[in-house]
Subunit: 206 residues, 2 copies
């Protein structure tokens, strides 16, 4: 769409459409919405974006986004520092935290190894993980990456880097999702869930 | 999702998720994308939003968004000021401009009459349209509102307000979309396209 009625709107639409998943039509809709609202709304939105980017810190221990040098999970004395869950990004952390089932700390890799996307081990936070483990205070590493070829490749790479240390390496359980019916579960998942069957007693939660 | 790792991120996510069609998960994805990009990117985005909202003007003639008091379409001496196309908002103008088929000017209503949404005639730019017509320089009004009950209601309301003036009132053609197959066209559209059939000669464009 050319012939924009206003350079100001055009500029805002151009910037908004740089965001992922936001095309030109959506960007126009967002810009018109912002124009209909109070100026304070635009001010808050714009400042929140700029403030976040300028003042954000990354936790020196787990690479989580944080307002302080060490994030609130790593700084929490009640979290088990000997248990580290390796995840791709902050969203995975939010999802796991929401379950209320995890009391250890995290290590954010920043992605998975994906030669197709030009992401090699050197682009991920792997060295800092290996160094943490070399300190001998870590008892278990839980690999919680996506269950794709890229995720599995990264799991193997990490396992080889870690295995010489005295640390248990586990991977999150894969199987039939709770609430799913067997006939609609894909064959690979169903096959694995039979091969990797677990003792019934593990299902009984006190 | 609670327990956000950073107040800065939380604030940006809260503001982003106030935008239409952007839920909390999408807002988190956008915030993480902004964090991965250069700070200048966030700066440009934030400033473009604030600048647009603070400095935008609305055309005193057609209510279009504009950087000047009169928009570039109303200010263009080659546009036919005696032909006014009545539309809901700026997006409709962009869509019609893109066709390259229209040489008149626009009048932006700001919506359609919709009692369900609490929008009455007093909330729309109707008086300024009636005043423009009363000046006797307008020859034709094209009603180009959405083809729904609300749009039709608004068309009737406008027609009653305008009809006593010496002005032609027309409505954009409704019928089978070009490229559509008849069997997939809804009955109401197909029925109307037969009742309101047009002479074959009108299809021949020189």
């Amino acid at each position: 769409m050319n012939n924009f009625p206003s350079k100001l709107v055009e500029e805002a639409v151009n910037e908004l459409s740089k965001l992922p998943g936001i095309g030109r039509k959506t960007a126009i809709r967002l810009a018109l919405h912002i124009l209909r609202k109070e100026p304070s709304h635009a001010q808050n939105l714009g400042n929140a974006i700029i403030d976040m980017r300028n003042n954000i810190k990354f936790c020196t221990s787990c690479h989580n986004v944080s307002d302080t040098d060490v994030c609130h999970i790593c700084a929490n004395p009640y979290r088990d520092k000997s248990l580290i869950c390796v995840i791709e990004d902050v969203r995975d952390m939010l999802a796991i935290e929401n379950t209320g089932q995890y009391t250890g700390v995290y290590h954010i890799l920043g992605g998975v190894i994906s030669p197709m996307d030009g992401i090699g081990p050197e682009n991920l936070n792997i060295n800092s993980l290996v160094n943490k483990i070399a300190n001998n205070t870590v008892k278990e590493i839980i690999l919680a990456l996506r269950t794709t070829i890229e995720g599995d490749t990264t799991n193997i790479y990490l396992y080889k880097k870690i295995k010489n240390n005295d640390v248990k390496v586990s991977v999150i359980a894969r199987g039939v999702a709770i609430g799913d019916e067997l006939e609609f579960t894909d064959e690979i998942t169903l096959g694995r869930s039979i091969v990797n069957r677990t003792p019934y007693e593990t299902l009984i939660i006190d």
